[in-house]
């Protein structure tokens, strides 16, 4: 037994990798850490979003929020639920705890209306993030931080024009997501060529790949595929290869894999809304409000995107995507 253990340990020590792995991650994390830089009281801020379980995007939003919380001496709470009704209940639970600040996403504005009003009435400053820029002010929030989905779609459309594309497929991976519909609408608005919407089952990657493959095989004119989430871009690249199509794959949002694919040229470009900034700014602005009654945006949404990321930018961003902050 002990001999086996020794052998295993020996093998691990001898077989160290000088690149990548846990150690590289730790080194990168150290660079992104910090400690409280202020001596304001320890306020409690809560964030309640419409994220599903284990969502990459919202994970990055959280890491931004947590970073700002460390800096601003804030106790940060987080809850989420995909269903509007349950999300509203979680916001109510945060109000019950008398938090000092509240950050909510308004993907389902009608479900959140009453409970946000309750928070405002209870004197809790509210900031909305990511979705619901058109409702934020009406509900009594101080400001909204995020990206206008239609404008982001238009940025993609313009970029496709610059690249001389003629026909694009917009891949929607979530039936029933209003923001996704808006993105594809934006692409349609700005793109001079033709745009076709393709609905796929986002929770099932093999299905996503086979659907895109089938579309590319049956329609040879398609020269651009636009995915609406970073995890789907590599899948679309695979599908294009399998289908023997020359279509360029472009995507909304970033992750480590997308940054790498941009670097090696297998992806055309990405349009980023900087989720880290959404979380970070939400906490930081609440802190500023409590500390100094400051508020950015002058009553207008504070935009964190769209930012077009190409091959050149990806070289810089790759390092940050690996540590989960871009």
């Amino acid at each position: 037994m002990s001999a086996v253990l020794a052998a295993v340990l020996g093998a691990t020590l001898a077989g160290c990798s000088s690149t990548g792995g846990k150690r590289a991650e730790e080194r990168a994390a150290k660079a992104a850490q910090g400690r409280s830089a202020v001596d304001t009281p320890r306020w409690t801020f809560a964030m309640v979003t419409h994220s599903g379980d284990g969502d990459t995007f919202w994970d990055i939003v959280q890491s931004g929020a947590k970073q700002a919380a460390v800096k601003d001496n804030i106790k940060f709470l987080y809850a989420h639920d995909v269903e509007g009704n349950k999300q509203a209940q979680s916001v109510q639970a945060m109000i019950d705890q008398k938090v000092d600040g509240l950050i909510v996403s308004l993907a389902k504005p009608d479900a959140m209306k009453d409970v946000v009003a309750k928070a405002v009435k209870a004197g809790i400053p509210v900031i909305t993030v990511n979705s619901g820029s058109d409702k934020s002010k009406e509900f009594g929030a101080l400001t909204h931080i995020g990206q206008d989905e239609v404008i982001a779609g238009e940025a993609v459309g313009e970029q496709l024009n610059q690249r001389g594309k003629k026909k694009a497929v917009c891949v929607l991976h979530e039936q029933g997501n209003v923001g996704h519909e808006q993105r594809c609408e934006g692409v349609k608005k700005a793109f001079k060529g033709e745009v076709v919407n393709l609905y796929v089952e986002g929770t099932n990657m093999p299905n996503v790949q086979s659907s895109i493959e089938a579309k590319l095989q049956s329609d040879k004119d398609v020269d651009a595929v636009v995915t609406l989430g970073a995890p789907f871009a590599p899948t679309a690249v695979k599908a294009a290869q399998q289908a023997g199509s020359k279509a360029e794959v472009d995507t909304f949002d970033l992750n480590a894999k997308v940054a790498d694919s941009l670097k090696d040229g297998s992806l055309g470009f990405a349009v980023d809304q900087d989720p880290y900034l959404q979380g970070y700014e939400a906490v930081d602005l609440l802190w500023l409000y409590r500390y100094n009654r400051d508020m950015l945006g002058g009553g207008r949404p504070v935009l964190t995107g769209p930012q077009i990321v190409t091959k050149d930018d990806a070289k810089v961003l790759a390092e940050y995507t690996k540590r989960g902050t871009r």
């Binding site: 109510q92 705890q97 389902k108 009608d110």
Partner: protein, 346 residues
């Protein structure tokens, strides 16, 4: 047939002591569990015991509990309904889109929705009794079909994935009062769904323990052939049970609609399992013939306490599903143990 306790009319002087009689109740295990969960969160979460927290927990419990009641009855009758979660959304969609598209009084939509939802329930029961296929398969089919219909129809009619608001139409005020108002009791602000929930539990308990229909439910769950042999109308009972699920789905659906004036077409998926979990924690057997409506309410209350308690305790929500699963196992083990003791002491 372990359900004879409920079916034999009490005659003569009671010979069994009170603790003994309590031990024979299906919900005993879950009551112990609920007390434990309550005490646990009261200790770890400072704000758990405040009046406003209690009303949030009760509301969360009631939204599950209203559906857990008929699902428990159905499980006592030996069947499942996997379409119960999306049926709630379907019911709300029919109601809101009918009112909006026809520019009709909100109550017209509510009435049409009741008919449509009951028809879906009837379809489930009818196909089940006709085909003799397992209810798992039939309601899985209904679940998938409804999920597709919800999205497809909403997109077709409204042009987007959520319905248009009916908040400015006639009849909304009175409908809101019935399905989505709240009132104050002492210093606790209670949602009307809590009343619906208590009412449904009371009715279901009375039916189960005091009426012939209740005996039929236990009988068909205990053994279909035996029930048929003694003259129980098996088909009528099962169809009735599915329609009871549909009725409660209608109540829940109207609540969602009247709370927010708008319905998201993709919601409700996965909730059917929560209803089943609440019923099972409350002492229903997967094999049928045993369980109670009060148990389902206790199960729903445990669910509500856990889901919100994690927020009050300020824990990372990633762990919620783990707790839910662990609790389901613990509760079921406790129920089985209590039942064994009860049967041994008879």
């Amino acid at each position: 047939m372990s359900s004879t306790t409920a079916t034999v009319p009490e005659a003569g002087p009671r010979t069994r002591s009170l603790p003994r009689r309590l031990l024979g109740r299906p919900e005993l295990g879950s009551v112990v569990g609920a007390a434990a969960v309550f005490v646990f969160f009261a200790i770890v979460a400072d704000s758990f015991l405040s009046a406003s927290s209690l009303s949030t927990v009760l509301y969360a419990s009631s939204t599950i509990g209203i559906m857990a009641v008929p699902v428990a009855l159905l499980m006592i009758g030996g069947e499942f309904d996997l379409s119960a979660g999306v049926m709630v959304t379907s019911s709300a969609l029919v109601s809101s889109m009918f009112s909006y598209q026809m520019t009709a009084n909100v109550w017209v939509g509510v009435g049409v929705s009741l008919l449509v939802t009951l028809a879906i329930g009837f379809f489930n029961g009818f196909v089940l009794t006709r085909t003799k296929l397992p209810s798992f398969i039939i309601t899985l089919g209904t679940f998938l079909m409804l999920t597709g219909l919800n999205l497809g129809f909403t997109k077709l009619i409204s042009g987007t994935v959520s319905t248009k608001t009916i908040g400015d139409m006639e009849g909304i005020e009175s409908a809101r009062a019935l399905f989505a108002s709240h009132f104050t009791l002492g210093d606790v602000d209670l949602q009307v769904t809590v009343l619906w929930w208590i009412g449904l539990v009371a009715v279901a308990t009375w039916v189960l323990l005091r009426t012939r229909a209740g005996n039929w439910v236990f009988a068909v769950g205990g053994g279909v052939d035996a029930a048929r042999a003694v003259g129980v109308p098996v088909r009528r009972t099962k169809i009735g049970l599915y329609m009871a699920v549909a009725f409660c789905a209608w109540v829940s659906g109207q609540h969602l609609l009247m709370s927010y004036d708008v319905v998201q077409s993709g919601e409700g998926v996965g909730n059917e399992l929560l209803y089943i979990i609440a019923a099972v924690i409350g002492g229903c057997l997967m094999t049928g013939g045993y369980g109670s409506a009060i148990g389902s309410a206790v199960g729903a209350f445990i669910f509500g306490m856990t889901s919100k308690g994690i927020v009050y305790a300020q824990w990372n929500p990633d762990w919620f599903k783990f707790f839910l699963g662990a609790m389901l196992l613990l509760a079921t083990l406790l129920n089985a143990w209590v039942r064994k003791r009860a049967e041994a002491s008879k």
